[in-house]
């Protein structure tokens, strides 16, 4: 009888019951009807135990870091940096939009934050350059889905926690797929440039781009430290201890400095200033990923360090934020993460009933009657995820479907990390699909264009994202290579 909780849950969901209550109502009702009242206490206990988690703390921290960075005025720096790199190409601002999304993804794990921050800046700028508003809004929405694919990513933290996977492995596995979505969109922009009559290539002029004295020094030091550290790690040096280790490191930093001096003659002053202005914000992903990869921080600690760094940048380096801005930012991050944490708690309770009801086994038997070929099944599951993604946000969808589908495909021989990436990318793309794509609504609000119009204009970009989903599905190496090379996956 317990297996009926799944259709009951779907019914509750369809009629509009909040997912949190649905996750508890369906199993709770059936447990009660089954005479298992004591297990209802277990549901409550699991909600509490599900939320009482150290790894889960990364969610409010990453949300906070993203909010701080966004308010701190880093968006304009990333956009200008992207413009300096790609603005001179045909359809330059469209390309800049995608590249900015890739860079922004390293700071925030949220597609909504990406759409609102970049959209409010780039949509009017694109319109001014002759792009149609619907095209500008569509490319903003399509590229913003990169946000939760490239680390840090809220949905990956949730999936890792609910399914007992490594957050670091999922973060690393998301890098190539995220970049692939970006590159796919860039190619699509170039291929369709004539059809949409995109502006011709032209030189980008930057007026009045300045750099504060502290920022100049911070970026000066950060670049040398980063490149020096990279050289020190990758260049095979004899094993040293104590003072010799420091000496080799300082040597690497000096080499980095010499490299920078050689490079500075190759580019204009303006380009250098734009790059320097982007270094401080772009240090965030370096700090997060470098810290996790180097075994310095756990993902939760890396998230807290990212918050501290964002505060340091916003208050002391860029000086774009005041103390009075903090309560509002903390409140927004707290409110959104409270909802997610409750959902994760309820998902853990739901997962217990999923196991008790043998739902994955029963579903697996049913799925295996459709086909025994994992490739065909992965195709079908992609179809299912895509449809679910059209109606439900990625977070709740991954919370609901992870415990049900994950074990089935792992049994079929799909690597759990690979399956997590398939689910994450597919459901994230769902954020930009009509009729219920959250980022479509945000893009509509930011651009003041109708949702239906953006939904039509986004179709070519969605097509490329679907192709990327299938590439990721059928070429596991795309997601698995980095975690394997770094020892975070088998």
């Amino acid at each position: 009888m317990l297996i009926w909780f799944l259709p009951l849950f779907l019914l509750f969901l369809m009629i509009g019951l909040p997912v949190f209550f649905g996750l508890l109502a369906a199993p709770g009702l059936l447990l009660w009807l089954n005479g298992q009242e004591k297990d209802i206490t277990l549901l409550y206990r699991n909600v509490y135990n599900g939320m009482d988690s150290f790894p889960l703390m990364a969610i409010p921290f990453f949300m906070l870091a993203g909010e701080l960075m966004n308010k701190g005025g880093i968006t304009i720096r990333l956009v200008q940096f992207s413009q300096a790199l790609m603005g001179h190409l045909r359809g330059g601002l469209a390309q800049v939009n995608v590249l900015s999304s890739i860079l922004f993804a390293g700071l925030s794990g949220s597609a909504v934050a990406d759409t609102s921050a970049l959209g409010s800046m780039l949509v009017p700028a694109m319109e001014k350059e002759g792009y149609t508003r619907r095209y500008a809004a569509a490319i903003t929405a399509a590229s913003s889905v990169i946000g939760p694919i490239i680390p840090p990513s809220g949905i990956m933290i949730i999936y890792a926690y609910v399914m007992g996977e490594s957050v670091a492995a999922l973060f690393l596995a998301g890098i190539v797929p995220g970049i692939l979505v970006g590159v796919g969109l860039m190619v699509m922009i170039r291929v369709t440039a004539d059809r949409y009559d995109l502006p011709a290539a032209h030189k980008v002029e930057f007026d009045g781009v300045a750099l504060g004295s502290l920022e100049r020094w911070v970026s000066f030091i950060l670049v040398r430290l980063n490149i020096g550290l990279l050289l020190w790690v990758i260049v095979p040096l004899p094993d040293t201890t104590g003072i010799m280790t420091w000496a080799t490191f300082i040597g690497a930093v000096l080499v980095a400095h010499a490299l920078m001096l050689a490079l500075r003659t190759q580019v204009s002053d303006e380009f250098r200033t734009i790059c320097k202005r982007a270094i401080v914000p772009l240090q965030t992903p370096v700090l997060i990923l470098g810290g996790i990869l180097g075994g310095v921080f756990t993902p939760t600690e890396a998230a807290a360090v990212a918050v501290a760094y964002a505060i340091f940048v916003a208050f002391f380096v860029l000086r774009t934020m005041r103390l009075s801005d903090l309560p509002d930012i903390l409140s927004r991050a707290g409110l959104t993460s409270a909802v997610v944490l409750l959902l994760v708690g309820a998902a853990l309770a739901f997962k217990t009933v999923v196991s008790l009801s043998y739902a994955p086994q029963i579903l697996a038997e049913f799925i295996l009657t459709l086909s025994e070929n994992p490739l065909v099944l992965l195709f079908l599951i992609n179809l299912l995820l895509f449809i679910v993604g059209m109606f439900l946000d990625a977070g709740p969808a991954i919370i609901i479907l992870g415990p049900i589908l994950g074990p089935i495909f792992v049994d079929l021989g799909v690597d759990p990390i690979h399956f997590a990436i398939i689910m994450s990318v597919n459901l994230t793309v769902g954020l930009a699909t009509p009729p219920m794509g959250l980022v479509l609504f945000v893009a509509a609000a930011v651009s003041r264009e109708k949702v239906e119009t953006i939904a039509r204009a986004i179709l070519p970009f969605l097509a490329i994202e679907v192709i990327v989903i299938f590439l990721i599905t059928y070429v596991p190496a795309l997601s698995m290579t980095i975690p394997r090379l770094t020892g975070f996956a088998n």
């Binding site: 969901l13 509009g16 109502a25 409550y44 509490y48 009482d52 909010e67 409270a338 959902l343 959250l438």
Partner: protein
């Protein structure tokens, strides 16, 4: 309808005030979480000392942040739900459906309330936390687990109060008094989601 409006006014005021206090404490809690984890990192690398308490203290704050802030999100319509069907239905039927859904959530919260109370006052709550102490006049007092578990119970109580308020609002709306409803303290719930 006048009667329901009269009942709603004090509930709305109490909820608004309590949730505002809750948000204030939640803001402090999230700041303390960051500070605790940073202390952990600094202590480990600068002082070579793996402190036991920051992990538990940060979780303590996170649980209270969730319990105190989630009801505000519920009041502002920030709980994720599909509104496909209600969008297709005639206004009256949609209002009836919305009331039905609120009654389901009310039932869940009513069931959760005694369970939560029993958990806090029961066997599990009597254990002490692993590493959390508060100073008292008689020395250091080890924080019991029930203080952490209370966060979810408080969250359930606040959600219940918000749910009652939303039911009353829904009833007034159904009776055609939507324009006479007191304002909710609405904020932006979209930012930060996936």
């Amino acid at each position: 309808m006048g009667f329901i409006l009269t009942v709603l006014a004090p509930i709305s005021w109490v909820n608004g005030t309590l949730l505002k206090i809750g948000r204030g404490i939640g803001i402090v809690a999230i700041a303390l979480m960051v500070i605790a984890i940073l202390i952990q990192v600094v202590a480990r690398y600068l002082f070579n000392n793996a402190l036991p308490w920051p992990d538990e203290a940060a979780r303590f704050c996170m649980l209270w942040m969730t319990g105190l802030m989630a009801p505000t999100a519920f009041r502002r319509g920030g709980f994720v739900a599909l509104d496909l069907i209600s969008g297709l239905l005639p206004r009256g039927v949609a209002a009836l459906l919305s009331l039905f859904l609120l009654l389901i959530s009310l039932a869940i919260l009513i069931v959760a309330l005694p369970i939560g109370y029993a958990e806090v006052t029961g066997f599990g709550g009597k254990f002490a936390t692993a590493s959390l102490y508060v100073p008292t006049f008689d020395g250091w007092f080890r924080v019991p687990r029930s203080w952490m578990m209370l966060s979810l119970l408080v969250g359930v109580v606040l959600l219940l109060m918000v749910n009652v308020e939303l039911i009353l609002r829904s009833l007034i709306d159904m009776l055609g008094g939507g324009d006479r409803l007191p304002d909710l303290d609405l904020g932006d719930m979209a930012a930060g989601r996936e």
